[in-house]
């Protein structure tokens, strides 16, 4: 990474920041960016499409790194609603806590949250990996379709409600499971998958796959049937 280009949001607008980042060519040598005085502004580093690293020196508002492609975004603070929403690839690292709907609908890449994530973390997840070192709130992985959610702490109520084929790994206590979400026996393939996710998150050796339990779809609600009406 080259020496960071400093961008002070006390002096410039979010529009100017994102325009500068969007103007970068994939081959740019301006691969390091430091955003100062973010002060919870929204849509910081949203829509990146180049392999650069953007460090945000403070708290981010809603939709930080939204729809990220290829880039690495590091938030040296907490992130508001929808961090890394619909991410396609790359890596987003929140060093504090994340608000609601972290990683919502994300298709690819890795969202790493050092703290806790609030409600609906990984809602409608479509293939990305989310690793939360702390705990997640209620309705995590609601309607999650694909990808993995790894939680080192606890999960709130209704984990995995109406889940499709996403894989959920929780090390701590699960308050309750949502509709059609069941505990699934861990296979060797699951352990290998979890190990790979932990390694990618830099947690290799700190926690072991066999400390986790896996949850997934019971697939009983995949087709409408009158006898399932009470499940919703």
């Amino acid at each position: 990474m080259s020496a960071p280009h400093s961008f002070d949001l006390a002096q410039h607008s979010v529009r100017e920041l994102n325009a500068a980042l969007h103007a970068l060519a994939p081959s740019t040598n301006a691969t390091g960016w430091l955003v100062q005085n973010p002060d919870g502004r929204h849509a910081l580093a949203a829509g990146l499409d180049v392999p650069v690293t953007v460090e945000i020196a403070g708290h981010a508002g809603y939709y930080c790194a939204g729809m990220n492609q290829h880039a690495t975004v590091i938030v040296h603070g907490s992130a508001g609603t929808g961090v890394a929403e619909n991410m396609m690839s790359g890596r987003v690292h929140v060093q504090g806590d994340a608000s609601q709907s972290a990683g919502a609908t994300a298709h690819g890449g890795l969202l790493l949250i050092d703290g806790n994530a609030s409600a609906r973390c990984g809602i409608s997840l479509k293939g990305a990996d989310i690793v939360v070192k702390g705990s997640v709130g209620h309705m995590a992985a609601f309607m999650a379709q694909a990808g993995t959610l790894v939680v080192l702490g606890d999960a709130g109520d209704s984990l995995g409600d109406s889940i499709y084929e996403a894989h959920l790994y929780v090390r701590g206590r699960v308050a309750s499971l949502g509709a059609d979400c069941i505990e699934v026996p861990m296979t060797a393939a699951d352990r290998a998958e979890l190990q790979e996710k932990l390694q990618a998150a830099g947690l290799d050796g700190q926690v072991r796959p066999d400390e986790f339990r896996r949850y997934g779809s019971g697939r009983t609600l995949y087709h409408f049937h009158v006898d399932n009406a009470a499940a919703y």
């Binding site: 969007h22 949203a46 829509g47 809603y62 729809m67 619909n86 709907s101 609906r120 409608s124 995949y222």
Partner: protein, 440 residues
């Protein structure tokens, strides 16, 4: 010996034969009825309005000599690249999945020939529709199926869908018969399952969040694309005001006549309001905010003719959108397939089991054999022809009212045939100066 007169069989108005049949069907299956299309009940509609035309005090334009403009610019409020359409009639959002790839291509071809836009649906953007649509609006839906930033950037406008007229407050359905391998891959779903789309967006709630979401979408696309907000007609005054406050460039209001690929019958028939009742409150909200004609209003739901187009515009809309009528123009419910409709237990003109994927016309299906029946070039031509007729009809009416542009039509050009329509459209009952709710 003569029989004494007997009381003839008499059906109940409350428990009529259709109601009885539905009770029996429900009892036999235990599941609500699901179908496509919009409401089928009789509603106050544009048929209940008439144009007054010219008279001694109003001066008409020559039908074949004097210009009557039809173009419309959408999105100039904030977008760097607003879109200009030759006609104020757009094609509503309909998904690949609910429709075949050929049907989507035909919609794109027809709209492009006519100089207007078409719209993606719940399920993402296909290369066919992008390639054949000169102006393509990309829907941003609660499910976010197939949503990706590359498609956002190659769209000409973005439509945030909060609801649709057939089911305000309801999510989408696509039953397993239509979840083909391609549809499943685009939606990241297992093949063949009954798919339940979300009814709420996953990462925002309420108008304050919507404002931030719109800001994000603008940042993602460098403020180039017009951003529409689409709602089902239910609280049009407040929804329009909130959409404007949230930063929308265009507000789209879909009345309960608007179609759906698959929804519960009870939802289609009992939730939402007719488009006739929604336009004036929406326009009033825009006018009170000083945004009429600055934020454009597109209305939809039961638009069939140039008269409907002209009436919607006279009430204050900037453009209309068509879905069901466009499918009929392509060939949906064509009597030429009557025998096949009969085999499905229905008849041409009444077929609405679009969710089952067995459409004889090859439009609402993913069956490759059925879908191959629709020639996208020919069907696109039919749609273009139909759009041309709608435009010519609307122009004929506008000229008769002395208007040199369709947007110059106004409520003063209209009267209502019924008290209900007069109240909803806020125009006088024909032959009177009475508008219900207003002092004489």
């Amino acid at each position: 010996m003569d029989q004494a007169p007997r009381t003839p069989p008499r059906f109940s108005a409350t428990f009529d034969p259709a109601t009885l049949a539905e009770i029996r069907r429900a009892a036999a299956t235990g599941i609500y009825d699901i179908r496509g299309g919009g409401t089928k009940r009789k509603l106050p509609h544009f048929d209940d309005l008439l144009f007054l035309g010219a008279s001694i005090s109003r001066y008409p334009l020559e039908g074949y000599r004097e210009r009557c403009g039809t173009e419309v610019v959408l999105g100039a409020r904030h977008a760097k690249k607003p879109i200009t359409l030759k006609i104020p009639i757009t094609i509503a959002g309909m998904s690949f999945g609910s429709l075949s790839a050929q049907a989507k291509e035909a919609l794109g071809r027809g709209a492009s020939l006519a100089g207007t836009s078409t719209t993606t649906g719940d399920g993402g953007m296909t290369n066919e529709e992008r390639g054949h649509s000169s102006v393509l609006v990309y829907q941003y839906l609660p499910s976010r199926y197939g949503m990706n930033p590359d498609d956002l950037r190659r769209a000409d406008a973005i439509e945030i869908v909060i609801g649709q007229g057939a089911k305000p407050g309801g999510g989408g359905m696509l039953l397993g018969q239509k979840i083909s391998p391609r549809v499943a891959a685009m939606r990241t779903l297992p093949e063949g399952i009954d798919q339940r789309s979300a009814c709420r967006h996953p990462d925002w709630t309420g108008p304050d969040d919507l404002e931030i979401k719109i800001e994000e979408l603008r940042e993602l696309t460098d403020w180039q694309k017009p951003i529409y907000v689409k709602v089902g007609a239910s609280r049009p005054y407040y929804d329009t005001a909130l959409a404007v406050k949230s930063g929308a460039d265009v507000v789209v209001i879909d009345g309960m006549q608007g179609g759906t690929a698959a929804t519960q019958e009870v939802f289609i028939e009992h939730v939402g309001i007719p488009i006739l009742a929604a336009i004036r409150p929406a326009v009033r909200a825009l006018q009170e905010l000083g945004m009429h004609r600055k934020v454009q209003l597109i209305v939809s739901g039961g638009i069939r003719s140039g008269a409907d187009v002209a009436k919607a515009l006279a009430l204050g809309a900037d453009a209309v959108s068509i879905g069901t009528a466009a499918l009929v123009a392509l060939g949906d419910n064509d009597p030429a397939y009557e025998a096949e409709y009969n085999a499905l237990g229905t008849t041409a003109g009444a077929y609405d089991d679009w969710h089952e994927g067995r459409d004889p016309a090859g439009i609402t299906t993913q069956d490759p054999v059925l879908a191959a029946r629709l020639d996208p070039v020919l069907a696109g031509r039919r749609l273009a022809n139909y759009l041309a007729v709608l435009t010519l009809e609307a122009q004929a009416i506008a000229r008769a009212c002395g208007k040199s542009h369709l947007h110059n039509l106004e409520p003063e050009d209209l009267v209502a045939l019924t008290i209900e329509a007069a109240a909803m459209a806020q125009v006088p009952l024909a032959g009177t100066s009475w508008i219900p709710g207003q002092p004489l």
